[in-house]
Amino acid sequence: MTYWRLFLFTLLATISIARAQEAAQPSVNGGESLNKPAMAKHAPPACSDPKPDCAMTIYPAFDKKGLLWVAYSVGKTLYVASSQDQAKTFSVPTTIITLSDGIIDAHGDARPKIIPLNDNSLLVSYTTRPDKMMIGTIFTAKSSDNGKKFSTPQPMLTSGGQRFDSYVVTPKGRIFAGWLDKTHAAQAKAEGKEFAGSGVAFAWSDDGGMTFKGKNILMDHACECCRMSAALGRDGLPVFAWRQIFEGEIRDHYAAKLSANGVKLIGGRVSNDDWAINSCPHQGPALAVDTKGAWHIAWFTKGKNRQGLFYAFSRDEGKTFSTPEKIGDDAHAPAFATLLATKKGLYRAWKEFDGAQTVIPIQKSNDGGKSWSAPEILASTTEASDHPILVSSKGDVFLSWGTHKEGYRLIPLRLAKK
């Protein structure tokens, strides 16, 4: 009899809890009419091998000897590989780490990076997002044996939450790092206060990336979902660009040079696009500094004053910027610009999509960004693709681009004109 009572009690309890849970959820309309079986299941990524062809994002960098290095992740594993023949073949990849908890931030604007250093060593960085947390942690690892082995990855910071790191190496070998940092946002939340975006934080390393000093948030309220970009200034100091949240939720852009002592940002607002929006554009700016020291910036906006992809330059270190110039064909949603300055000139490339095909148009300027050659299509694909990145080695310019259908490509630039 006791068992029957226990059974009945349990049965009733089960029913009541199930009903209570159902009642706690809002009843939502809209699902019943959708005939999902009519929709096709879509294929998973083409491959899961540990090679650049299978990565969603790839970051390229040439070392002094002209060897191409790439950092990329496939699943929860981060790899580095090198190529002596401009990405036709790659070395057996070196595994940096396989995560047991969380994911490697390698999607859209976010990606692991590799930085070849002046002493032929290599620095790798990546950001993890643990399963139960929204914020990330930046890790770095070092190799001094030509990428055969990497040191155990070390966190840049152990609290606060970071994302979107970028690096600049000076001719003297100092590595400057910049990233978006949620420390102040977390403090504000704990105090029940509102806080828009992330802080913009910096640090530097004089031991080849083994340790970083001077970690400091120098500005608050950067848009937390767009990448930062960095470039080396002519005076050996790093320049950074990011999307900033100005008064009134306006998500326009800011560029600044880090002072020699690493405690001050000197720069200014790139343009007044007036994009007042409480949203994540998921698209940060591109930055390059040319041989004369001029700053070049490309960015995306849907502001009141302009909409689309734009470019401007500053010849007074961010005090003033040229009138924004529209890039690309608006009918094809131009996006994700990349800039590169070499001794031969200034280059800008970006992505366009016409509904069927994605193309990468490229232009060159020989007068510091005042005028540009006609756009030429450097590559195309009809499937998913990574953001384009322009990279140079010994004066040659290449487009680095991973596409789902064609795999990873390093395409040398041979412009018809100029």
Binding site: F7, Q25, G108, H282, F300, A333
Partner: protein, 168 residues
């Protein structure tokens, strides 16, 4: 122990286990969303207004307003509301946890299952590059409205006012 008692004892323990296991709420299913699917998702049912809301776990603005969507659903039962998570599979569990935490388990959810995201964006709006939150508002009372921004965006509020105005 008699056999019938043993059976009831086991059954009771099983049910108790089920109670404990079900403590996290109802399971959440993301239907796959890929190229060509937008037109079907955007079809009105019995001319009821429809909201299609695209969001991601990497979008703090999206996450911050999930709770407001719960409230919105309860206050607008005459509108069909569809949520589409734009993350890839790696982040789907995280997305499910966010929805469950905000009481949105029973809503209709889709998840991007196609990595050709440019095409998915283009099918919705030729000028959309993936900025979020992004919401599509459809009714028989006027043209389709695409809104980049949060629930309190003026375009969203205007669409809702127009909807309510026509009904009055």
């Amino acid at each position: 122990m008699p056999r019938s008692c043993s059976f009831l004892y086991t059954l009771s323990l099983t049910l108790l286990s089920l109670i404990l296991l079900s403590g996290t709420g109802l399971s959440l299913e993301f239907k796959p969303y890929g190229r060509g699917d937008f037109d079907q998702v955007a079809q009105l049912r019995e001319n009821r207004p429809r909201i299609i809301h695209y969001w991601s776990v990497t979008c703090p603005a999206c996450i911050a307003e999930l709770g407001q969507w719960t409230k919105f659903i309860n206050e607008h039962r005459d509108i069909d509301i569809i949520f589409i998570n734009t993350d890839d599979d790696e982040d789907r569990e995280r997305a499910a946890a966010r929805l469950e935490k905000n009481g949105l388990s029973r809503a209709t959810h889709y998840g991007f299952s196609d990595s050709f995201v440019e095409k998915l964006y283009y099918e919705v709006d030729k000028s959309w590059r993936g900025e979020l939150p992004f919401t599509v508002l459809i009714s028989t009372n006027g043209p389709r409205v695409n809104v980049t921004g949060a629930l309190d965006d003026p375009h969203f509020v205007a669409w809702l006012n127009q909807l309510n105005g026509v009904k009055k």
